[in-house]
């Protein structure tokens, strides 16, 4: 089975037939109310028109169009199951089609920020329920009976009184002619009526194809006459080609052409980095051709970037007192001066590359004033607009077909690699598949930032924390879009700093200047990584200094269950959500900590050189706590026999995928704690492949991961994020456990050989 894109799908009879065409001509019915929060605040908002999202064939096959990108979070399954549940469709008859990049039709498609279900649970439910109502209405008209006597259950329409019965397929064409019911008139199920939502027994919709190897990722897209390209890019950000010699490359059989691509001025946004492209008849020839190029590079202003030296620069910044004050409650400086005991610590969190298992890959065909793209993109609409700009076309002339993504983690929300394919396809007059090798991926990521977090705290005679000062120094993502402001943006600060919910009377946070020397971008959970690592490590340090149990101390410093006043703290973001609907509730944070620690049997006697560590963090409007159990050998090897992770993300729509996201977060976080980092010397990334960019393998991952789903009892509670919030507390839980096992405090990630004896 190939991945089906609706733009290429054979015309379906029945409900979908005219619907997709019609939908384009109908003004979207979304956003009547003021646009402010959540999906309303995203570009192109949301849609819930069933004619956009569902079609039913005469045979009764229900095709749900999913407009968010699948990258392993299970969105194709989860969105379809939500719609199918309200539609009362038989899961065996449900298929998924992938929407192309077209936000005016489908609503927002930026698959990031852990918000696909958060923003589209409601719209998908309404689309399914409306379609079900239309089927019932069609059957009622056909049978000449009142609609409220017609039931629609598990793909069957029935009228009890007359004994009439029909499958969904039989009524689909008639239903397609009907008006979509007014939103206010749509009757949603009550939770006890859910067939799929919240249940654990659905198979992933793409499973059959995955086990046969027939799924289509970006690398797998093929069209006739396709050529393959690789690009030698400037190794330093802002660098460019000084000169090159392609004579040896052109000798290689299969190499068709060598094309220089201009390097952009900085800041370069999502633009390709430029360099020299080799286009060939197969991937291997293109790679060999690139190896044969002789290129002289001009490095530019970042040619001396050295991440080790830069750490000292960041430390200096974090010790300076002239940073912008971004948060200020009480008088932390005075309280620190008066505190009987005072502590400070600095934490270092390195650059990271997302390194999705499938590197960035894109296929482009440009002909007759139109461009067609097949690519593994998280943001297909952004891709569409950028490709149009690049080629001098209108967005309507660009079709972006979204393939499956072999992982994303934020890397594939930037379409630089697609623009490369588009430019080369235009130049060649033939379709071009852009191939990134692992080396390309690691060298030319949009890297997770690098941070020094400095914390100071004052404790009173009883060990209570009375003063807290946090200085964060890290290059901002804003540096790729505008002349480097040298300061974090509100959304970066809102990831665990301005919304940090500790119950301390005097809190101050500052953001001293830090300049970017590499492309900085989103990496799963973004600035929550350094903020959570520093804060959760420091609390553990304070607990030890105060002679307290780290769990008890953590609960104490979080304080009693309450709703935090985010505006008062200076958080203007709250992940884009309405703070009235999504208050930061410390009771929920306490509860995940209690759940994880109880499950891990916190407080038990531990053998020598083993220990438990705990950490908790609020992000993407969800609450997560992690307890790690570690063993450190006499030579300093770290093993992790068990991790308990508890999440409260509100109602659990697809519990199996919440668990799988938590498992994945724990494993990714294990790598970040122990081995994974990107370093720079002379402006160049020093890691080339998975031998030096060390990510977890089966034997270096935690042996057991226990996921605990907390909360969700109130079906009206809005959904929290799932894809990202699992990650931030994993690293400090592990390093806190290392302290418990060895008495050695890890303040710089990754652990690497810091424990080696």
């Amino acid at each position: 089975m190939a991945l089906e894109n609706i733009s290429r799908r054979a015309v379906l009879m029945g409900m979908g037939a005219g619907a997709l065409v019609l939908a384009l001509g109908i003004p979207a019915r979304a956003q009547e109310e003021e646009q402010k929060f959540g999906a309303d605040a995203m570009p192109h908002g949301w849609r819930d028109d069933p004619r956009i999202f569902v079609s039913i064939s005469p045979e009764g096959v229900v095709t749900v169009t999913v407009h968010r990108s699948e990258m392993g979070q299970g969105v194709r399954t989860s969105m379809a199951m939500v719609l199918a549940d309200e539609l009362e469709a038989d899961w065996a008859q449900v298929r998924v089609a992938q929407a192309p990049g077209d936000e005016p039709t489908f609503g927002n498609q930026d698959t990031d920020g852990s918000r696909s279900l958060r923003h589209f649970f409601g719209p998908m439910r309404r689309a399914g329920a409306a379609a079900r109502q239309m089927l019932r209405e069609a059957a009622a008209a056909e049978w000449g009976v009142p609609m409220d006597e017609v039931t629609a259950e598990n793909h069957v329409l029935r009228h009890e009184g007359s004994g009439q019965e029909a499958g969904y397929g039989e009524m689909a064409a008639r239903a397609a002619e009907l008006e979509v019911p007014e939103r206010e008139g749509i009757v949603l199920k009550t939770p006890d009526q859910f067939r799929y939502i919240g249940k654990d027994d659905l198979e992933l919709i793409d499973n059959p194809a995955i086990v046969m190897g027939t799924t289509i990722y970006g690398i797998d897209a093929r069209v006739d006459g396709m050529l393959y390209a690789v690009v030698a890019r400037p190794p330093v950000l802002g660098g460019r080609v000084a000169s090159y010699d392609d004579s040896a490359a052109l000798e290689i059989p299969g190499v068709e052409r060598v094309i220089a691509i201009d390097s952009p001025d900085l800041p370069s946004g999502f633009q390709p980095l430029g360099g020299v492209a080799v286009v060939a008849t197969n991937t291997w020839a293109a790679m060999r051709g690139r190896d044969a190029l002789q290129i002289e590079w001009e490095d530019g202003e970042h040619g001396s970037y050295d991440s080790e030296a830069y750490r000292a620069t960041l430390e200096e910044a974090a010790r300076s007192t002239d940073g912008a004050v971004i948060r200020n409650q009480g008088d932390a400086l005075a309280a620190l001066a008066e505190a009987p005991r005072r502590f400070e610590a600095e934490y270092y969190i390195p650059h990271l590359a997302q390194a999705p298992m499938e590197p960035p890959m894109a296929l482009a065909r440009v002909e007759n004033g139109r461009a067609e793209i097949w690519a593994c993109v998280q943001a297909p609409q952004v891709t569409r607009v950028r490709v149009a700009e690049k080629l001098g076309l209108q967005p309507e002339d660009v079709t972006v077909n979204v393939t499956l993504l072999g992982g994303g983690f934020g890397r594939k929300s930037k379409p630089d690699f697609v623009l490369e394919a588009a430019v080369l396809a235009q130049e060649m007059g033939q379709p071009v598949k852009m191939v990134w090798t692992r080396e390309d991926d690691l060298h030319h990521s949009f890297f997770h930032t690098v941070s020094v977090e400095r914390l100071e705290a004052g404790l009173d005679e009883n060990g209570r924390c009375t003063a807290w000062l946090h200085r964060t120094a890290a290059p901002t993502i804003g540096s790729i879009f505008a002349p480097d402001p040298g300061q974090k943006l509100p959304f970066e600060l809102g990831m665990g700093l301005t919304n940090m919910p500790l119950d301390i009377p005097n809190v101050r946070a500052e953001n001293p200047q830090a300049q970017a020397h590499a492309r900085i971008g989103w990496y799963r959970s973004v600035s929550n990584i350094p903020h959570a690592f520093a804060i959760q490590s420091f609390i553990d340090e304070l607990a030890r200094e105060a002679g307290r149990d780290p769990r008890d101390y953590l609960l104490e410093v979080i304080g009693p269950a309450r709703e935090v006043d985010l505006a008062e703290q200076g958080d203007v973001w709250n992940y884009g959500e309405d703070p009235g609907r999504y208050p930061l509730d410390t009771g929920r944070l306490r509860r995940v900590i209690e759940t994880a620690t109880e499950a891990a049997n916190w407080g038990r006697e531990m053998p020598e050189r083993t220990g438990l560590g705990v950490a908790a963090h609020y992000s993407f409007v969800s609450y997560v706590a992690v307890v790690a159990e570690v063993e450190v050998s006499d030579t300093g090897e770290v093993r992790i026999p068990r991790v308990d992770i508890a999440i409260d993300c509100g109602p659990h729509v697809n519990p199996d995928r919440i668990r799988s996201q938590m498992e994945g977060a724990v494993i990714m976080g294990t790598g970040q704690a122990l081995t994974t980092q990107i370093t720079f010397a002379e402006g160049r990334v020093q890691q080339d492949n998975f031998d030096s960019y060390v990510v977890p393998r089966m034997d270096t991952s935690p042996r057991e991961i226990h996921v605990h789903l907390v909360g969700g009892e109130d079906p009206d509670q809005p959904l929290g994020g799932v894809g990202e919030p699992g990650l931030p507390p994993v690293m400090p839980a592990i390093t806190n456990a290392i302290f418990a096992a060895t008495g050695q405090r890890i303040r710089a990630l990754p652990v690497g050989d810091q424990l080696r004896t």
Partner: protein, 151 residues
């Protein structure tokens, strides 16, 4: 160069240095075999060459000459290999990209060691990277496919 791929006889007259991976993908259109590193570091490209699990990204066509190659597309005709069944039952995949290589590795492991211990599984499966972090389910699926109780 003559070889058999999933039971079909094939002939290749191109660069004998071309890795089997790109022959399978670019020339034959068998795209189930994936590229992850190109350097025998991740296992995304794993296929069976004469029954032996092999990194196709570093197996030159000259070496594949005369061999019988099995890819994920040929592991079974209908998805009925015990590994495929267990992978589905336990919803192992996240993005799925590494899973062709994981299943080919697991199938070879089970052919060699029908009831692998945790240590056997660690030793063999640690050659394959899953960036999504599906290792606990891969372990459980291998145990299920081998008829052993899940831990």
């Amino acid at each position: 160069m003559d070889l058999t791929v999933n039971g079909e006889a094939r002939t290749f007259g191109g660069d004998p240095d071309m890795p089997l991976l790109w022959y399978l993908r670019d020339e034959l259109g068998l795209t189930g075999t994936k590229f992850g590193c190109g350097a025998a570091l991740c296992g995304a490209c794993l296929v069976h060459v004469d029954g032996v699990p092999s990194f196709s990204c570093i197996t030159p066509m000259a070496v594949a000459d005369g061999a019988e190659v099995t890819t994920i597309e040929g592991l079974s005709s209908d998805g009925s290999h015990p590994v495929q069944v267990a992978w589905r039952e336990l919803n192992v995949a996240q993005c799925g990209y590494c899973q062709s290589g994981q299943m080919m590795q697991a199938a070879a492991l089970l052919a060699e060691t029908p009831e692998p211990t945790d240590e056997d599984i660690d030793a063999v499966m640690s050659q394959n990277i899953c960036r999504c972090g599906t290792y606990p389910r891969i372990r459980a699926a291998i145990k299920r496919a081998s008829g052993q109780e899940d831990a």
